[in-house]
Symmetry: none
Subunit: 412 residues, 2 copies
C-alpha cells in the first residue's frame, strides 16, 4: 500500500519547529508493517492544494497534518475540497463538540472557530477529544479514479497521537487488507564501517529472495536493517551475525551504553572511568542508562597532569618521559582508577581533541585507551582526526566498546 | 528564490532517524533571508530519481542530502546524472582525497569507496574534509531550461554542516543575487521560559515597525530572533536586553558552556565539578569547548556515597542524616571538590534522575546544587520531573548557569 505523509506548516520549513510528526508516524506505520513512500512538507497557504493533488494522484493513502486551525492560513480543509472536487459543509455534530469544548474550558469562542466544524461532504468526521479541530477521513471512492484514502489530521501531537491510534491505524489496517506483510529486524554493529558490510555480505544478502537491506551509519556504529518475510529475515540475520559476530552488540534500539550497563549488571561487576580528552563523556553516557548507579562507582575527569597524578596516581616520571597522551599514561590511569575505586573494570582515555595541541609525532586526533580488567590491563593507540565533538564522541564510543569486549570475555 | 530540500534515506521514513537536516537547513537559510518552499523525503533507491526530476522542474535551487555513501542503495549521484542527462566520471582530485582520508586513518579502503569519487561532468566537486563523499554542485546551466542549481550533500551532520557553511551558503547567496535585505539578530537567554517573553515584551516588540520576531525555546534556554532593518533590530534588542539582562548570555551561536569557559579564562580562574546525577555531563560540556583544559582542573563523578566520601570528603554523617540528595551534601560536595582540586570555583549536583528512586519527600526530579566560590558557598534545591535525559540536560544547564553567574559576580 502506497502511503504518503504531507506535513503543513511554515514553522517546519523555517526550522523553528522540528518535524516530529513524520518521524513518529513513520515509526507507528512501520510497526504495523506499513511503509511511508514519501513525506513532504509545505508552508501554510496555497502550496497545500498543489501538493495534495500530487499526493492523491500518486498514492493509496495520504496522511495530512496541520492546517485545521481557525486562522486564515489554515486552509487544509479547503485545499482537500478542491483537490477532491467536493463541497464543504458545517457538520452539526462537530459544531456541537466545538461549543462543548469551549464551554467546558470557559474559553471565549470566536467566530473563526466555527470554520473548524466544516467538513467535506461524504467524509467521516473523526472526533478530537483533545482539541478543537476534528479530523476528517475521506474514503477512496471520494477521490474518483485516484482511489486514494485521505486523512486530515490536527498538528498538535497531543491531539494527533491519540487520534492516530484510535481512528487512523484501524482504518489503514482495513484498507491495506493484509495482516502484517513483512517484518523489520535491525542489528547494531560497533567498531566496523559501512563499507565492510558492502564488501563482506552485501552480495550474499542480495541473493535472499524478498529481503530488503538498508544501512544506517553513525560515528563508530552501523545499523543493518532487514525487511521481509520472517524466513528471509532469519536468513539475512544468520549471514550478518556470522560474518561480524565480534562487532554485533544487539538489536537496534539498544545503545552501546545500555548494552554495557546490562552486561556489567548481569555479571555483577563494576566500572570506573578515568577520562582526559573525553572530559566526562564516557561517565555521562553510562549514567544516561537507568540502573547505572549499580555499576558505575567512580568517574575521574583528569584533564590536568596534576589531577592525573593526584587522583589516580599516574607517576610524574611517566608523564614526563612519555607525555600525557601515551599508552603508558593510559595504562597507569586505568590501573589507578581501578585501584582507587575498587571497581572490577576501569577504562581510561587520554588524547588530543584539538583543534590545537597536536605535534608532528602526536597529531590532533591521537588517542590512547587503557582497559583494566580483573586479569590485567591492555592499552591501545589510535588516531581519529575529527572535529572536537566528533573526536569525543568516537573516542567515548571506542572506550565503551573496549569495556563491552572486556566484560564479554570475562570468565570465558 | 525558490529553494527546495530533498532528503533521502529509508531510515527517515521508517522513523528510526529523525529528519534534523530539514530543520537545520531551514534555520540556516532563514538567517540568510532565504525561505525553503518545500521539503521532501524519499527512501533510498529509485524514488530519488523521480523526486529529483520534480524538484528540478519546480525550483531554482535544490539541496539534496544523503545517498552519497559507498553502498548499493546510495544512488543520489546516479539519479542526478539521469535527471540532468549528464555522464558520471571519476574525479581525480576526489579520488586522491579519498585515498588520503583512508591512509591517514589507517582504515582499509575497499573498492566500493571509489564510487564516491564519481561526479557529474561539468559539476563542481565540493571538498569534504570530514568524510569520504565529496559534495557535488551543478550550476543552473547544467539543468538546461529548468535553470535549477543542484547541491548533492552528504547525510552525516558532521559532514553536512561545515560543508553547508563553507560551500553552499556562499553559492546560494551569489545565486539569489540579493544582498541580505534584512538583518538577523539572535539573543540567547538562559534560565527563563518562552512565556515570560510573551508576557513581558511581546506587545512592545510588536509595536516596532518592520520587525519580525521569533522564538526558539529549548530546555533551559530561549533564543530570541529579530529580523528587520538595523534600526528595528536595535530597538528590539534594547527592549529585550533591558527586560531580561540577568538571563542574557549573549548572541545565539555561543553555547552556555562556551560563555562559561570564556568568562573563566578572562578572569584567570579555574573550575572543578562534582557530579552525582549528571554523571559527568557538566564536565563533558565544559570540555566540549576548546581551551577548557586551562580552566577545568578536576572533575569528580561521585555516583556512589562511598565515592562522595572518599574522593571529596563528604561526611558519612551528613549522608546518613540528610540523604545523598540534599543541599547539605551538595554543599559538602562543592566545598570538597574546591578543596581537593584547588580550583577557584566548584559546582556540585546531586539529584534523582529517575525513573526509579523517588520518594514522597524527594520525588523523581529533585536536584540540589552547590556552588563554591572564592568567597563562600551557596546551595539550591529544585525539582525538574522530566525524562532521564532531559533531567540531566536541564540540571547540567542550571549548574553551568550558576557557574556563569558566580564568575560574573566575582569582584563586582
Amino acid at each position: 500500500m502506497k502511503i504518503e505523509i504531507l506535513n503543513t506548516g511554515s514553522e517546519l520549513l523555517l526550522g523553528s519547529t522540528a518535524n516530529t510528526h513524520g518521524t513518529w508516524m513513520g515509526q507507528e506505520l512501520a510497526k504495523m508493517g506499513l511503509r511511508v513512500q514519501r513525506q513532504t512538507t509545505v508552508p501554510d497557504g496555497v502550496a497545500i492544494e498543489e501538493a495534495l493533488a500530487e499526493c492523491i494522484s500518486r498514492s493509496e493513502a495520504v496522511l495530512v497534518t496541520g492546517g485545521l486551525g481557525p486562522t486564515s492560513d489554515d486552509i487544509t480543509r479547503e485545499a482537500a475540497a478542491k483537490a477532491l472536487d467536493v463541497e464543504l459543509m458545517v457538520d452539526e455534530g462537530a459544531k456541537r463538540s466545538l461549543y462543548e469544548f469551549f464551554e467546558k474550558r470557559k474559553y471565549p469562542m470566536v467566530k473563526a472557530n466555527l470554520r473548524q466544524a466544516e467538513v467535506l461532504v461524504g467524509a467521516d468526521v473523526i472526533p478530537n477529544p483533545n482539541g478543537t479541530a476534528p479530523g476528517i477521513y475521506t474514503p477512496p471512492r471520494l477521490s474518483g479514479s485516484a482511489n486514494c484514502a485521505l486523512f486530515l489530521l490536527p498538528g498538535p501531537p497531543r491531539e494527533l497521537y491519540p487520534m492516530f491510534h484510535a481512528e487512523v491505524a484501524p482504518r489503514l489496517k482495513a484498507l491495506s487488507g493484509v495482516e502484517t506483510i513483512s517484518e523489520v529486524s535491525e542489528l547494531r554493529f560497533v567498531g566496523i564501517g559501512e563499507s565492510s558490510f558492502h564488501e563482506g555480505i552485501d552480495e550474499k544478502l542480495a541473493e535472499i529472495e524478498g529481503l530488503e537491506v538498508g544501512y544506517c551509519a553513525r560515528l563508530g556504529e552501523v545499523d543493518l536493517r532487514l525487511i521481509g518475510s520472517p524466513e528471509a529475515i532469519l536468513a539475512g540475520r544468520t549471514i550478518a551475525e556470522s560474518a561480524f559476530s565480534d562487532f554485533l552488540i544487539g538489536d537496534e534500539g539498544f545503545s552501546l551504553e545500555e548494552v554495557v550497563v546490562r552486561m556489567l549488571t548481569e555479571k555483577g561487576t563494576t566500572l570506573a572511568t578515568a577520562e582526559s580528552c573525553t572530559g566526562g563523556l564516557i561517565a555521562s553516557r553510562v549514567t544516561d542508562v537507568s540502573g547505572a548507579s549499580a555499576v558505575l562507582t567512580h568517574g575521574f575527569v583528569t584533564y590536568s597532569n596534576e589531577a592525573k597524578h593526584q587522583l589516580i596516581g599516574v607517576q610524574e616520571e611517566t608523564l614526563r618521559r612519555h607525555g600525557a597522551v601515551s599508552e603508558e599514561v593510559a595504562r597507569e590511569m586505568a590501573l589507578g582508577a581501578q585501584r582507587v575505586s575498587g571497581a572490577n573494570f576501569a577504562i581510561s582515555v587520554t588524547g588530543i581533541a584539538g583543534p590545537t595541541g597536536g605535534t608532528e609525532e602526536k597529531p590532533v586526533g591521537t588517542v590512547c585507551f587503557g582497559i583494566a580488567t580483573p586479569t590485567g590491563v591492555e592499552t591501545f593507540l589510535e588516531c581519529h582526526p575529527r572535529s572536537r565533538a566528533d573526536f569525543k564522541q568516537q573516542s567515548s564510543h571506542r572506550a565503551l566498546d573496549l569495556v563491552r569486549r572486556a566484560v564479554r570475555d570475562l570468565n570465558s
